[in-house]
Symmetry: C4
Subunit: 191 residues, 4 copies
């Protein structure tokens, strides 16, 4: 390996350690819906019905992360009963829909509990998400996000929104917090 | 860098400046639906119901572009109540559906207001779109378009139709017109 | 260019000319549905409703090809009202559904008119399609087909089924038959 | 070819032979649903309706494999009438839904018949599948699986779940068991 690519590697590693350091203290994971929990597609039919698609990988990740002690919440600018149902299925009780001002929504969501912005990870893909991403400890984005949003993230997942991006986030938080192996262990038993 | 690739780069840059020069004077953005605002897929079910999928990124881009002073219109050869609803949600009031002759539709749409063809950008993906694209100042296409349509465009977006192509157009028009930073500013505030 | 890649190119060109030679005499284009006119996905919901997705590019190609004098027919192993509706919308009147033995279906479809197998192009993606593909003049396949089906085709389209594969076939037939420029001309007029 | 890449090739070939050796004795193919028979997307609409998408290629593969003498079964953690219908259409009568503990479900499914774990191939994509994959003779996974699941598989298909992964498994089992050519023969007849 020449010294240039070696330096590049060191820098990457330092950056990854910095991300994991921040993820290690996350107490709340807050998720946008369209483009993060979904692929950003809105399905409409003739009669005004609306569909969204979610990922089973994400669903299982959210359940495991909650079990590990991290709280999961959802804030979305649009409003639909689909999201309400999905949140309920996943045991996500903190949910605010139809809010353009996402930072005010965030304060409402956690206001009564007491919280610290540094302890929050937020995953977003569009400009309204920047209002939260610029203030919390762990702003995260996805490959399919608008470019300025990706630039304000400390980490952009490999998987696209709706195709496992949130699962990637859940697993990495658990690894950074040392809870991943314990969470996986029951599935590896053979006796 | 050798001189060949350097020349290639200069030519690319000159072409990009030419595109931005044309985008800077756009007053009206006119959009085709299937293949541009959608991925070109038509979903049909047993009972004759039809679905289309739209992109949330596109939706936000259209709203911001309108706020910046550029008018957005939709002309489509097919006809469906899905498009009517989506246009209404986005505040797009100029909409003509079910018209094969798209240039005549364009003249009807803008006839009363007075308009100049040089001030119009049009995004299309199939042959009927050529009728408009060959006449307006900014003919734009998408990677999933029929090849002859891409050839008649001054610019082919990177994103595919229904996956952010229209957002790419909206953001680049605002950048060329110097309105992008103002539009983004409210989302970057932290006080 | 070295002599190896030059030879490769000559061989490719000879193969392409052979394909175009066969396409030039096609009078009937026969299409499979799932995996050819669609991406092979079957959408089912809780109440037994079924959806399929079609491509607008394909639709326009089929209409133009018919106008140019080539007849289009559909033979499919499954059965659904979705296909009936789509065929009707595209002006395709020769349609047989729910038939495993596709070659017998083909003979029924054209039996009364008189036809020659050498004048038929067929696009298929799965084993039952081989029954027809091994007998007609122009067996064509798609990139998403089962490997043995691709091997029995004289040509595999670049676009996948449901994403413009059939449009690619329609345009190439018209080019090989010298009808493409006439078909495109009305869209290029600026009078 | 240099000796390094030659060694790499030998190792690959040895691994492939080992896989085929195990597939040759498979009597039961057991499939997960979400992410294996589907792409892992859950489609929800406003009224609580749910859709899943299946692949026609997979469907045909499952029917051929059963005809060749291998039994096919489905075990899934979620529960939906969509899966029931799809299983019925494919002639898959061994089906257990809504079960987190997949290994217990497996024992119930085959308990009465008598079976050997070494004779079972299982295709999975998420942690609950590991409970079965670590015990059966042929644990198989898909490219879209969670990384630890891919690591516990003896083989990861090329096709993604819902896009032909199961067809790839069916065809390879038949090839390893020497039944593939017989199964394909009827489609290649031109009498």
């Amino acid at each position: 390996m020449n010294s240039v690519s070696s330096k590049h590697k060191e820098k990457d590693q330092a950056h990854n350690e910095q991300i994991d350091h921040k993820l290690a203290r996350v107490r709340h994971l807050v998720l946008d819906v369209d483009g993060v929990l979904t692929d950003g597609r809105l399905y409409f039919d003739n009669s005004g019905n609306e569909l969204k698609t979610f990922s089973t990988l994400d669903g299982h990740g959210i359940k495991m992360l909650q079990k590990s002690g991290v709280q999961v919440a959802i804030i979305t600018g649009r409003r639909s009963s689909v999201v309400e149902r999905r949140a309920h299925d996943l045991g996500v009780h903190k949910l605010i829909q139809g809010r353009e001002d996402k930072f005010t929504a965030l304060k409402e969501l956690f206001g009564e509990d007491g919280y610290r912005l540094e302890d929050i990870a937020y995953v977003g893909d569009d400009y309204p998400d920047l209002l939260v991403m610029k203030r919390v400890g762990c702003p995260i984005s996805v490959p399919n996000a608008a470019p300025p949003v990706r630039e304000h993230a400390i980490w952009v997942t490999e998987a696209r929104g709706g195709e496992g991006a949130v699962r990637e986030v859940c697993d990495r938080i658990m690894k950074a917090q040392g809870t991943f192996d314990t969470a996986l262990a029951p599935y590896l038993q053979t006796d």
